[in-house]
């Protein structure tokens, strides 16, 4: 194995693009090092991207924030601006692992690891976050929702790396929230999860909404039918019941030791309605 530490994203993409063997990108390393240890992967090349300019920066951009690909959970959690604008994104990311893991883990890494249960991903999808990707041929932007294509698989091509994730600006009276179910209180993998982002109109009714579910399908899933249940409502009981039903109907989970299909489907709906209520409350607070 060869460890390299390029200074530019172009150089990193070039190295990855030309490598004929197995390669891995190293940012926080909280998944990659575990894969190395377990022998799950034996890379020929490890590209550490942390010395590339901007990778550890949180930069205001057009009313939103650009989050460098090597920004850790600890760094994001200490950023008052991001927490105020996208609290649901921060709370989702902060649920991952221990204090030690938070010291290193990154949102881009959680996204690229490709787990349907990654806690950073549903909120990013609900936020309509956009990943900036450096490839051997240049850069491109891709919605976060389109990055995962299956368990452990992403839409990134050979040599491509995510260099940052843009959390967009949002109108006043907006809020988001993320909830997951685990059988304990900390340090576990989501059995089912839900993220809701919504914006209220001047009349206090929901003017825009996005709902994303985690751990209930091969990828994190954006559920338009669930979001539609909230539009024009004040989150009355019938709207929340319709939201939960639409979420449960959209689930395509697996049965495993952590949860059955029936359990995951039901709980995803319950979490979505609770997350919607929290997002709604937060939206009211920002008006």
């Amino acid at each position: 194995m060869r460890y390299v530490r390029p200074e530019t994203a172009e150089e990193a993409a070039d190295l990855l693009g030309r490598e004929e063997g197995v390669s891995r990108i190293l940012a926080g390393g909280t998944d990659v090092l575990v894969q190395l240890k377990s022998g799950l992967v034996e890379p020929d090349l490890i590209v550490d991207i942390k010395r590339i300019a901007g990778m550890r920066d949180i930069t205001p951009e057009d009313g939103g924030f650009r989050i460098g690909a090597a920004v850790s959970g600890a760094m994001l959690g200490e950023h008052a601006g991001v927490k105020a604008l996208w609290p649901g994104v921060v709370e989702g990311f902060e649920l991952i692992g221990s204090t030690q893991v938070q010291g290193r883990a990154t949102m881009a890494g959680n996204l690229c690891n490709g787990s349907p249960a990654g806690d950073a991903v549903p909120s990013l999808v609900a936020a309509a976050a956009v990943a900036r990707i450096q490839g051997p041929g240049g850069t491109r932007d891709c919605p976060v929702a389109e990055i995962p294509v299956g368990p452990g698989r992403t839409a990134l091509g050979k040599g491509e790396i995510i260099t940052s994730i843009l959390l967009p600006a949002r109108p006043a009276r907006s809020g988001d929230a993320y909830l997951r179910f685990i059988p304990r209180t900390e340090m576990d993998i989501a059995v089912a999860s839900a993220a809701v982002s919504l914006t209220l109109g001047a009349d206090g009714r929901v003017a825009a909404a996005r709902v994303a579910l985690g751990a209930v399908a091969p990828t994190v899933r954006l559920v338009d039918a669930a979001a539609e249940c909230l539009l024009g409502t004040g989150l009355e009981e019938d709207a929340l019941a319709a939201l939960a039903a639409a979420c449960s109907a959209a689930c395509r989970p697996i049965d495993d030791k952590r949860g059955t299909i029936a359990f995951r489907s039901q709980v995803a709906g319950v979490l979505a309605r609770r997350a919607a209520a929290i997002a709604h409350q937060r939206a009211g607070r920002t008006s």
Binding site: M1, L33, V34, K37, I46, S98, T99, Q100, G103, E186
Partner: protein
């Protein structure tokens, strides 16, 4: 290119070592620098016995490549005591019997120090969440939480 030369700062002193490309920081600390306070429990970031601070951030050194330490500042359990004088956390752990076999203790002390540096007056709940990544298989956690509170109180009144 079988090894990498690394120049780093450990507990305030500059240090240099040579390591393999796939070697972890934990292995380099223990096997190349003789700093055996950090322990390998799981090797996969679950138990926290290998906790150190990397540029002030609490991390599992088993999840860091040794090569990543280039130009970084690393603080280990070996830097906690001032000469022969134990850190208040170490003294409180002894006084309140917050350890038995001791394997988890260096990691818990490093993690607890990181907590008290940013929050000198944590609640029991805050201590438990902060230390959720430090597993102890013999003492149980009550004595550990009490020892952290005891040290925090002494550090506040110092």
């Amino acid at each position: 290119m079988k090894t990498i030369q690394v120049a780093t700062t450990i507990n305030g002193d500059s240090a240099e070592f040579v390591c393999g490309h796939d070697e972890t920081l934990l292995d380099a600390l223990r096997n190349r620098l003789g700093l055996t306070g950090a322990k390998e429990g799981c090797g996969t970031g679950d138990c926290g016995a290998c906790s150190v601070r990397l540029d002030d951030r609490l991390v599992c050194s088993c999840l860091v490549l040794a090569a990543e330490a280039e130009g970084a500042r690393i603080d280990t359990i070996e830097g906690l005591a001032q000469g022969e004088t134990l850190h208040p956390l170490q003294q409180s752990f002894i006084d309140l019997a917050a350890l038995q076999c001791g394997i988890c203790t260096p990691g818990i002390l490093v993690a607890a120090k990181a907590l008290l540096d940013r929050n000198p007056e944590p609640t029991d709940t805050e201590i438990r969440y902060w230390l959720a990544g430090n597993l102890c298989r013999c003492t149980g956690y009550d004595k550990i939480v009490r020892a952290v509170q005891d040290a925090a109180a002494k550090m506040r009144s110092a």
